[in-house]
């Protein structure tokens, strides 16, 4: 191998290894694993009969790790709820299920971005730290009304206790 080739390949491969180490540390140490991973099943025809998704929206969590569970039902071409308020600073387990085809669930200006597929529940754990209005869009083609499919998350000032 040519000397320059050796240098080039070592620098190149070396930087790839550094990238991978960063990804690995971030995943294992900081918990930044890919969204929606794992298998939690749900029958797409009975999503609303399922206890988890009977009343979509924000619910106090029984789990110590979270303040709230936030359930969304996606169906062509809307999300339920169509708007939700979340107290600033909440630790939330977001779960989404679809009643029909594949949808996307992207909360613009946040890291929440995942696919929703029939038969499976998609989960993303996050904190809502910044007050504001966040647009949710469907970013996976689902049919003619695809771009009408939106919802809004309003992160509001103060903890839940401070409100009535």
């Amino acid at each position: 191998m040519h000397k320059f080739e050796k240098i080039w390949m070592s620098v190149g491969t070396g930087s790839l290894i550094i990238f991978l180490v960063i990804l690995g540390v971030s995943a294992v140490h900081a918990g930044h694993t890919p969204a929606a991973s794992g298998i939690e099943t749900i029958n797409p025809e009975y999503v609303r009969e399922d206890t988890r998704f009977a009343e979509p929206g924000l619910h106090e969590s029984e789990d110590e790790e979270f303040d709230y569970n936030l359930y969304f039902v996606a169906s062509a071409f809307s999300y339920e709820p169509s708007e939700v308020e979340i107290p600033q600073g909440s630790r939330v387990k977001v779960q989404v299920a679809t009643t029909d085809v594949v949808h996307g669930f992207q909360v613009v200006n946040t890291n929440i971005n995942m696919m929703v597929e029939p038969g499976l529940v998609s989960t993303y754990n996050t904190n809502f730290d910044t007050v504001g209005e966040y647009l949710i869009v469907c970013n996976e083609y689902c049919g003619v009304g695809h771009t009408d499919m939106t919802s809004t998350i309003k992160v509001v000032d103060g903890g839940a206790e401070d409100n009535e």
Binding site: D100, N113, N139, T147
Partner: protein
């Protein structure tokens, strides 16, 4: 021809594509030109619709057009080009096909043509607005899936003919290393045969029975995973013919030798190994797959970058060595010595430049955490337009510049060469603008695969629309480039005949006489490693999709 002739002599004797093979190549290339025009026009209209500047007449849907754009460009154009170029490369470097091999090529061609026409009819009648990725449980007409299956099986026939030509050469010149171009085409063909197994299983055993109503539901996760097992290898199937041109054709256009035969073979072998067990990086944000398997495929995806770095090195090594031979001094003077007036060089070179941001974007997309931010945003669309939509297609254009007149017995005139340069620069400007706007809009959250929408008057959507207008400007330049390309290609085939046909440039390598690395042409070993990696990456995730009782999904037609 005597069997005692050393292949290197044969290599220099055999300096053109056989006339009968040429007809087959040309038939494939005519589809390319046709597909470019149809698919490109659809693309331009899409940018106008998304910018809110145009509405489709006659009840044609945006997603119908998008499906057409994807199928015609990502599948039809590329498949016909790749089959045509590889047949030409084999005929040029290993020698003419025999009747049986060529017949397989023709059967493939007619199957692909028939499949394309039926798929196009299904899209035109709005029976198949499910995009080329056909995500279940959106359910198209069964004919759409059958047509796509026929296209894929058609490529298998063509590939079988090509592989037979390669192996016949190996048998005839036992012990000699095979011509580099023929080896490269064969790697791409073997990779193709392995990766299409997944998608054909999915189409034949899932989509077709389900769309015919024989079974009621479909396992969505499984269908997507089998699709992407093919879907990412597909991008390397597009790319490797471009690499064939970069490694072998471009140095000869400069009038010099290629960098290294062994390095080129090694990089192709690495592509064979690492193109397939990486598809899950398209599925990083979806349920149904454990984080571990997503992570493993991210690591394997990074391995594919290594042969790309090898390729970049050897190309620029050739450019610099060549420039210095012509008297260049200093650090970058050699750059000026490159043949900037030769479209056969400028077209692929512009493509190589696009591949720098394209490759960086690819690393970003494959990095799990960053993927989270860009997944399904229009950033991704920007990414594949500066990979397949620029390096790959510009190189294809560069190949067609010499291949069409080579086969039809003509020369590239000065005027046609200049048209080629205009094509390159117009395409570069249009694609640069459009894809930059796509990347920036994507970072601001704009979704892909979406028609014009104000999203209920959200402020952020206004910002997206500004970028969409820029995309439409880029799209307009691209359409102009396509018109130039179509006129250029037709003239290259129909201009006045010349006594001597345009050359099909094939460089010899600086290490031409050195034997190949030992196992590089041991196909048994290569295939075993390829399948082994595939099994490691996919056995568990796919098994889980069967054992975890994921409820099936009924079909929907929501367009």
């Amino acid at each position: 021809m005597s069997k005692n002739i050393h292949p290197d002599h044969l290599f220099s004797l055999n300096n053109r594509v056989d006339a009968k093979d040429g007809k087959l190549v040309l038939a494939n290339m005519i589809w390319v030109i046709f597909a470019l025009f149809i698919g490109g026009s659809a693309g331009m209209l899409q940018t106008f619709i998304r910018a809110g500047m145009f509405e489709l007449p006659f009840g044609i849907g945006y997603y119908q057009l998008l499906t057409l754009h994807g199928v015609i460009l990502a599948l039809v154009l590329t498949f016909f080009f790749i089959m045509g170029f590889q047949i030409a490369s084999l005929s040029r470097s290993a020698g003419a096909f025999n009747d049986k091999e060529r017949l397989l090529g023709w059967i493939g061609f007619w199957m692909m043509s028939a499949g394309t026409l039926v798929a196009a009819a299904m899209i035109a009648t709005n029976e198949a607005s499910v995009l080329y990725t056909f995500y279940a449980p959106l359910q198209a007409h069964a004919f759409y899936y059958i047509a796509l299956a026929v296209i894929i099986i058609g490529t298998w026939f063509s590939v079988a003919g090509q592989l037979m030509r390669y192996f016949r050469w190996r048998k005839e010149y036992k012990g000699h290393k095979t011509p580099l171009l023929s080896f490269m085409a064969s790697v791409n063909n073997v990779m193709w045969l392995v990766c299409t197994i997944g998608v054909s299983m999915s189409v034949i055993f899932q989509y077709i029975p389900w769309s015919l109503g024989i079974v009621e539901t479909i396992n969505v996760s499984l269908s997507r995973t089998l699709f992407w097992m093919f879907g990412h290898a597909l991008v390397y199937f597009w790319l490797l013919p471009a690499y064939m041109s970069w490694y072998v054709v471009v140095p000869k256009v400069l009038g010099t030798k290629g960098f290294s035969d062994n390095l080129a073979r090694m990089s192709f072998v690495l592509f064979l190994f690492f193109s397939i067990p990486v598809g899950i990086h398209h599925q990083l944000t979806e349920p149904g797959i454990d984080a571990f398997w997503k992570g493993l495929q991210v690591v394997l995806t990074f391995a594919v970058i290594v042969p790309s770095l090898m390729t970049a090195f050897s190309l620029f090594a050739v450019f610099e060595t060549h420039g210095r031979k012509l008297g260049a001094t200093g650090i970058l003077d050699w750059f000026k010595k490159l043949p900037w007036k030769d479209a056969r060089f400028v077209l692929p070179f512009l493509g190589m430049l696009f591949f720098i941001p394209g490759g960086i974007g690819g690393i970003i997309n494959a990095s799990g955490q960053m993927n989270q931010l860009v997944h399904n945003t229009i950033w991704v669309v920007g990414h594949f337009h500066i990979t397949v939509g620029a390096p790959v297609i510009l190189t294809y254009f560069g190949v067609m510049m010499f291949l069409l007149p080579h086969i039809t017995g003509r020369k590239i005139t000065k005027q046609l060469n200049n048209m080629g340069l205009y094509l390159g620069y117009t395409w570069t400007f249009g694609m640069g603008l459009m894809s930059a706007a796509m990347h920036f809009a994507g970072l601001r959250g704009a979704p892909r695969r979406s028609t014009f929408s104000e999203y209920g008057g959200a402020d952020i959507a206004q910002e997206w629309i500004t970028y969409q207008i820029l995309q439409a400007v880029g799209g307009t330049f691209l359409f102009v480039a396509i018109v130039i390309a179509v006129i250029l290609f037709i003239q290259l085939m129909t201009g006045p005949k010349t006594t001597e046909a345009e050359e099909f440039p094939v460089a010899s390598m600086m290490d031409q006489s050195v034997p190949t690395t030992k196992w590089v042409e041991n196909w048994r070993v290569l295939i075993i490693i390829t399948v082994f990696l595939l099994l490691i990456a996919y056995t568990m995730p796919i098994t889980q999709m069967f054992t975890e009782n994921i409820p099936g999904a009924k079909g929907f037609k929501l367009w």
